[in-house]
Amino acid sequence: MPRPGFVLDVDRSTPPTLFWRGEGFRLEALPVGSRVIYPPEPLDPLRDPDDAIREALLNPEGDVGPLPDLLTPGMRLTIAFDDISLPLPPMEQPDNRQRVVEAVLDLAAAAGVDDVVLIAALALHRRMTERELRHALGNRVYEAFAPHGRLLQHDAENPDELVYLGQTDRGEDVEINRRAAESDLLVYVNINLVAMDGGHKSVATGLASYRSLRHHHNVRTMQRSRSFMDQEHSELHSSNWRMGRLIAASGVKVFQIETTLNTDTFPPAFSFLQHREWEWTVRDRAAFLAMSKSLDRTPERMARSIFQSIKAPHRMASVHAGEVEAVHRLTTQQIHRQQLVEVEGQADVVTFGLPYICPYNVNSIMNPILVMCLGLGYFFNLYRGKPLVRPGGVVIMTHPTPWAFHPVHHPSYIDFFEEVLADTTDPVEIEKTHEERFATDEWYRHLYRTSHAYHGVHPFYMWYWGAHALEHLGGVIIAGGDPRAVRRMGFKPASTLRDALEMAEDVVGRDPTITHFHCPPMMICDVR
């Protein structure tokens, strides 16, 4: 029976706590009286995921018939699927998407459906490489579709491939992928890693254009999402739900298939990363020592390559199919069952050890903007109720934060970092003064469409992701980061965690309450 999440009170006998630092980690002694929040242990996976998928397709949730009943000869069927940003780390094969897509294709073939197109729901993310597509879908699916031009990647900048469906009652433009919208059935295949994923967000965001996305990917929405991991209090979700309902009202028939994963995040060689330190075995200690010593001597590039090659052993924990909202309710329950940890009260100072990966640097470099996004966007918002850190409190993140960018994946990030952040770090000012120029830059558009670059506006969204945290916090300190890069983002650099804790006292006062968020594996804090 997997154990639930746990809040440890640090005392004199508590061993040092593991902190991630990008492509590495370190043991840090937290002051006595600090708290460490540990995620729940991985839930048992589905015994036979393929059988569970078939079951879900034949017995869908909500007011929709079994998938075979929706498939007819001569129909246009589109299967959209989540892109490279999910799951994290990428999972061992077979990926959930492969299992689900194969099951849907089997049913489509049985029903005599010939006109089938697969679309990677990129939104404004980079196009996936052939290797990444093969990993997500499996060779069989790739070989059957890609050579015939029936495996596509959503292009949010091709006006011929977009269709405008109208405005929501709040004036939000809804423009999505034409093939998806004009199909007789759109099947969406999702992997729900965190509570933000899935639901109407799958189609309304994953298959949308900038014209549509800008209505919820903005500073105001992010500051009004408390948090964007909590659907009930997330303006991001409200907007996506309004759009999703308009998409349905426009006649687009969506059959949603959502899967979740357990939090078995690291392969055996790295398993100590998800064990609680006082329970480390001799083998865990030896693995930690060997790995941290060798990583200290490993060139940055090689270390990145080692970590990016990790394939997570996480397994499918649930699958639900059918009508979007009915499916997503069940998915969210499952996510909460796996990830929710009850925490009593906020802290003056919260520490995050930031790992090497976030949704936007798979097979890439975690640049400083993504460091900010992972810490102040994702980790900060992994709460329900209220943030783990009190208003005016301090977040300390540990990460090397190198002034380094992937030139192919993140070209507009470099410009954003050099030009925009040199001007201001205020998200409101950034949005007002700079966003449109980057969003409409022809060169970024060209690279997004033809290369493997994130859209020109994407670094702005990453910055907005942290807007709620920036508004809430009294200070942000990055320990162990490149001081130039840290200062460019308006944060304070510290050499060590101890220094950072001392610096935090200047903001929150002496003897602050300290909480360490021991993530990954993923969790959500239900802060009372």
Binding site: I414, E418, R437, W443
Partner: protein, 393 residues
């Protein structure tokens, strides 16, 4: 009189070159420059005056000479031994303060009739800098007969002297010569109204070029400056740059500004209409060629010397590469004006005296040259010798 003298010495020249590889300005310690007592230069004839320098700047070309990095191109147009220093404000024997226009053209050399360039007012293009009654020398400060600003006295022809108004400080006056170089460069290339302009380098010449562009060509909508150091960045903005970037940010900044593409080789598909290179290294000229638009103009203000360059882009994109040396006559609204006249105006109105950040007595010349050679990273711009308190004046 006391003077810094640069002598012809191949071993010392080589030593300076080696030492400067280790640290810029080190040529002053081991090279052919030495502080010594020499005879005051004799007046070459009528129309010549003795000038006692008050302030004498240290220029990039002086540093190249001291560090043994000057091109052999100069060998036939300089004469040894010479006292360097061509950015000079000084006193005449009658007490009048003057700024020196150092180019030793036909008028100074007693050549009549003057060459076609001098006759047209383009004295910087004088064809006779190796001839006439003076030893060869393209400027005062490179000629064995005239002395230079790094000594207690020099001689100058009337045609080289510009009176300094009483209300102009010595620190402002010493900036007139470098400002004149910048004015000439800034006015040398046509810039289309909507075209982007880039100035590479934010030392004295770069900053003065930014000021000259902003002051004399207000129609230019944007000036992107490349500056390495924080103080240079601040001054570049203050003097009129609309955008200031580091050298490694230039290509992306110009791409954004001009809506161009950035190709894998690092060159832009479009680019700036005019680039002023005020550095003159292979790296800066390569950057200039990478960010210039097809058909655009790269103006070399910085002394380039021997550089290794890939000129394929220059050929394929039909780029004009122009030199801008010194000063002569400019045409403002179709009317000719001496560059020095415009430079006085620029120095006064833009308060360029602020760029003079350190002065040294001649005795501390090694420190002065080290400071000048590493000015950017030490937060300085123009370093000058202050001869106002020297004994035996």
């Amino acid at each position: 009189m006391k003077a810094l003298v640069f002598e012809r010495s191949v071993p010392r020249f080589a030593a300076a070159r080696v030492a400067s590889e280790w640290r810029s300005g080190s040529g002053a310690r081991v090279g052919p420059l030495r502080l010594t007592d020499v005879e005051e230069p004799a007046l070459p004839g009528t129309g010549w005056q003795r000038v006692r320098p008050r302030l004498a700047g240290i220029c990039g070309s002086d540093l190249a000479t001291v560090d043994g990095r000057a091109s052999r191109y100069f060998e036939p147009i300089v004469s040894f031994p010479f006292v360097p220093g061509h950015e000079v404000v000084g006193d005449l024997d009658n007490g009048e303060r003057v700024v020196l226009e150092p180019v030793l053209r036909c008028a100074a050399r007693g050549i009549q009739p003057p060459c076609a360039s001098c006759a047209a007012g383009d004295t910087n293009r004088c064809r006779n800098v190796a001839y006439g009654h003076l030893e060869p020398g393209l400027q005062t400060g490179y000629c064995a007969d005239t002395g230079g600003g790094w000594g207690l006295a020099l001689v100058a022809h009337d045609s080289q002297l510009h009176p300094v108004p009483d209300d102009l400080a010595d620190e402002a006056a010493v900036m007139v010569e470098p400002a004149a170089c910048a004015v000439h460069g800034a006015l040398s290339a046509q810039v289309p109204k909507a075209g982007a302009v880039v100035v590479i380098g934010a030392g004295t010449l770069g900053l003065c070029t930014i000021a000259a562009l902003a002051y004399f060509r207000p129609e230019i909508e944007s000036i992107t400056a490349v500056a390495k150091h924080p103080e240079q960045r601040r001054l570049a903005r203050q003097l009129g740059a609309s955008t200031v970037v580091g050298p490694d940010e230039l290509r992306r900044a110009v791409r954004r500004q001009t809506g161009s593409g950035l190709l894998a080789g690092g060159q832009l598909t479009g680019g700036a209409a005019v680039v002023f290179d005020c550095v003159g290294t292979a790296a800066s000229i390569s950057d200039a060629l990478a960010v210039i638009e097809p058909g655009g103009t790269v103006v070399l203000l910085g002394l380039p010397g021997a550089v290794h360059l890939d000129l394929t882009g220059l050929w394929q994109r039909e780029i004009r590469l122009e030199g801008a040396y010194a000063y002569g006559t400019e045409r403002i609204s179709g009317r000719p004006k001496r560059t020095f006249e415009l430079a006085f105006q620029l120095v006064r109105d833009c308060k360029l005296e602020e760029l003079v950040t350190a002065t040294y007595p001649l005795d501390r010349y090694r420190e002065a040259i080290d400071h000048a050679a590493n000015a950017g990273r030490r937060g300085a711009v123009k370093v000058a010798f202050d001869l106002r308190k020297e004994k035996r004046r």
